[in-house]
């Protein structure tokens, strides 16, 4: 299928070796989106995808093009080998050599696993809305999408991803998990990212070669430095999977944008037979399906590029590029992903509105260019806090960053003016984002971090071009570029090593297995968390969790009155508490213990308390705190009395 699609400019390119994998997983995502939107179980996307692949294979055979890939793999065997080894080792090393997602600060990885599990278990969008409606007695669809209403933690998270953020990437994970027989998705989701990493490596090698005309081996080094860029690795390890998944597809769009700038100004009907358009449309559809926010960034970068084009046109009076084919492909991409895109206008309006609000969490620094290009790791503290810089850090960071900036200016003066907007658009967008976040909105630096990590490939191309532009000697270029890129890769490996030490592992799969053996039904319990940190929440990736004291506002306790009350304790705390032997241990590992009290929530509460709950359909946060505190106090009291 990828052979039929591959545009001419990518046919003789190292990227061609990664295409079958990317096209396969991308088409599977689009089919999953169709299944999700039409309420069909996402597993059906796999046989449909297979059928399309077989038909494409037969058609390719018919046209005698099947040998093409053998020649491509033969030609780019070295790139293929490096790309596969790099992507697999990154994932394997970060995941402690296990098939699991490591956890440190970011909670998005848990969110994707919870949402995928919901779809994996047969959930649909309608069923999700109905469940939340029943649990909250709220009938407003937009309020349901805003989540935090239901006491069911899993439903809140699924609503966040599927209804509010419209990131339907979990549909692909659910389909793959069903296909491979994995039960929790948790075991699979990190490993799946090997494919987009491999694709990103391929497209980076291609872009470095066509945009900078550098030595082929330096382009491989540069792509290594992108995959091992510590900011990019941080996005990967902190669970922002949709962004990682869509990264190679965004780079494909970037490549197609560059190609379309040289198209003929005169319109010809033959463009409708052009594979460039259909391939760009496919990449657009996959990107928007996995991570709709990325299209906001792509549009903003394109807009920056067009403004620069106008300036350059007014300056030089040279040819003004019209990317007609690219824009047509974007339109076609919107049509391909229609089940999702028809719901997006409202989402984008909300996203643009939310840009003034603080989202995400603090990164340790406002990254300077030295940190953006991966020459320095700023993620030395495993906490979501802003550290700031001491005097030594300021001197080193600002010195190197100013030199990078100066070299970039020199590079721009040396560059052909028609190409300037391609190199300038992404850095300018990142600078504008910094001004917007740090000076105008004065919010945390999360959005700024998103901007430079999404555009990591164009930025690295501009950076490498800048660092070698001043040296017109091949040997010096090789020494400087290889030195800088090797250093970035070493910093990235050091980051992975630190991450391994800081992160912890949980095992929702084992917990689910233990529950199944004991006959514990999903959703049978209401839980009270007495364990701080991420660990209790991460188990929601394996089991259905109704959490009483999560602290979110307006959660409705009423549907949980006849659920059994359970406690989730830190293993260390439970040793200190001398627990009541009547309380049954449902599951325990080195981090956590799940206890069942055996009593329903109704039995823990007094008649008056239940009446208060009945009087208002939705309990207020203070009432909920009172209820959970009462149970907690009684629990401790019982423990004291009986031991």
């Amino acid at each position: 299928m990828s052979r039929l699609f591959t545009p001419k400019n990518l046919q003789d390119s190292p990227f061609a070796v990664t295409l079958p994998f990317l096209v396969g997983i991308g088409s599977c995502l689009i089919l999953s989106v169709y299944c999700l939107a039409s309420g069909i179980a996402v597993i059906y996307s796999i046989p449909i995808s297979l059928a399309i692949s077989i038909i494409s294979f037969v058609v390719s055979m018919q046209f005698g093009k099947i040998n093409f890939y053998f020649s491509v793999y033969k030609k780019y065997a070295f790139e293929f080998l490096i790309g596969v080894s790099l992507s697999v080792s990154c994932i394997f090393f970060a995941a402690h050599g296990e098939q699991q997602q490591p956890l440190r600060v970011g909670i998005d990885g848990i969110g994707y696993a919870i949402t995928s599990k919901y779809l994996h278990d047969g959930g649909t969008l309608d069923a999700l809305e109905k469940s939340i409606e029943n649990e909250t007695s709220i009938h407003d669809r937009s309020a349901i999408a805003q989540n935090q209403l239901s006491i069911n933690f899993n439903h809140n998270i699924s609503a966040e991803f599927l209804l509010k953020s419209r990131r339907w990437y979990p549909a692909l994970l659910a389909a793959l998990a069903q296909c491979t027989g994995t039960k929790t998705v948790w075991d699979l989701q990190f490993a799946v990212l090997c494919i987009p990493l491999f694709g990103l490596f391929g497209i980076s090698v291609h872009l470095f070669r066509i945009m900078l005309q550098i030595n082929p081996y330096v382009s491989i080094f540069a792509s290594l430095a992108i995959i091992l860029n510590c900011n990019f690795l941080n996005v990967l390890c902190e669970g922002q999977h949709a962004q990682i998944f869509s990264a190679p597809f965004l780079c494909v769009l970037f490549n197609q944008w560059i190609v379309s700038r040289n198209e003929r100004a005169k319109f010809e009907w033959s463009i409708f037979l052009d594979r460039e358009i259909y391939f760009s449309a496919f990449a657009f559809a996959v990107s928007i399906s996995a991570y709709p926010e990325i299209i906001l960034v792509a549009t903003a970068v394109l807009f920056c590029g067009k403004i620069l084009d106008v300036c350059i046109f007014l300056w030089t009076r040279s040819k003004f590029p019209i990317e007609r084919n690219f824009l047509f492909a974007a339109f076609l991409g919107i049509i391909i992903a229609m089940p999702l895109t028809i719901t997006l206008p409202k989402f984008y309006t909300a996203q643009v509105h939310n840009l003034q609000k603080e989202g995400g969490f603090w990164q340790p620094q406002w990254a300077a260019p030295i940190e953006i290009v991966g020459l320095k790791n700023m993620y030395t503290v495993p906490e979501p806090i802003y550290i700031g810089r001491n005097i030594e850090d300021k001197v080193i960071s600002y010195t190197i960053s100013i030199i990078i900036f100066e070299f970039f200016i020199i590079f721009m003066f040396k560059k052909n003016k028609n190409d300037m907007s391609v190199f300038l658009a992404s850095p300018i967008f990142v600078i504008l984002m910094y001004i917007k976040v740090a000076i105008v909105s004065q919010i945390n630096n999360y959005e700024y971090m998103k901007a430079y990590t999404i555009l990591i490939v164009p930025i690295m191309i501009a950076y490498l071009g800048a660092m070698i532009a001043i040296f017109n000697n091949l040997r010096l270029q090789l020494i400087i570029s290889s030195g800088l890129l090797c250093w970035s890769s070493v910093v990235g490996i050091q980051y992975l090593s630190d991450y391994r030490k800081d992160s912890f592992r949980t095992n929702p799969g084992n917990c689910q297995k233990s529950f199944n053996e004991l006959g514990v039904m999903q959703g049978e319990y209401i839980w009270i968390l007495i364990a701080p940190g991420l660990s209790p929440i991460s188990y929601a990736a394996g089991i259905n969790m109704n959490i009483l004291n999560l602290g979110w506002s307006n959660q409705n306790v009423l549907p949980a009155l006849d659920m059994k009350v359970g406690f989730i304790l830190n293993s260390v705390n439970s040793g200190l508490l001398k627990l009541n032997p009547e309380y049954k241990v449902l599951y325990h590992d080195r981090d956590i213990i799940f206890y069942s009290t055996g009593k329903t929530l109704r039995k823990w509460l007094s008649v008056n308390q239940i009446k208060t709950l009945n009087a208002e359909s939705v309990s207020s946060p203070s009432e909920m705190t009172e209820v959970s505190n009462k149970i907690y106090t009684e629990f401790i009291h019982n423990v004291d009395n009986k031991n």
Binding site: Y386, I391, N444
Partner: protein
Amino acid sequence: MSIIRISIYILLMTGSLAIAIFLFVSRGTSSTVEFDASGSDISYNPTKSSSICLFENNAEKCLYLTSLDILLRCTPIKNVGYSDVFDTDCINFGLRIEFDSNGRGCVLFGDSKGKCYDGIMLPEFDFAGKPTLIWVKFDKGFLSVDQDGILAGYLSSFREISVKKVIVGNGFDGSRSYPGTIDVLNFHIIAHKYMPPRLLFGKSIRGIVSIVFFMIHLVAVGLLIVEMKNRPEIKTVE
């Protein structure tokens, strides 16, 4: 010889810029504010006053914390509800340490606009009616809190911490008051006003030297460009 010249230019370019930035970002000492109340007998008693102010800055728009050393002896009543032992303001204009009824404490940082941006949770303190020594230290971006001589929590942060006033005693409203006694055994604070070197009027030698080094840097960049232009160009591999 050309490689040696290029290396010298790169070294000169980087070194001069590093010195210029060092001189530009390092602060003068003229704006430092220091206050020491060590040895004075300051105590807070809820029956006599709502709170006592240990430090207040009205002269400057914004002062940033350089170092802080506070030793408190707290004797609270058990289960008193939410209590603030040490509070800078009703809005968090600096450092605030709070303790809840379970003895769990947290240290919160605020910025110059009163917005809380950072904090660390401390392990549980045992306030069972007995005097407890709380020692808060901040120096060179490192904050630590000790309880009875044992390290209870720490945070490394190089972010500027604004400090407007330091109050001990009653919290910022009635629901979070502190009905115990606090003896301030030691209080020493150094704050500074952020002032980059004055470059325009030449009043600061540091500023002028910084500009000189930046000019040297620009000259080195220019020399590097000229050096590279004089070298025979070798085309890169396609």
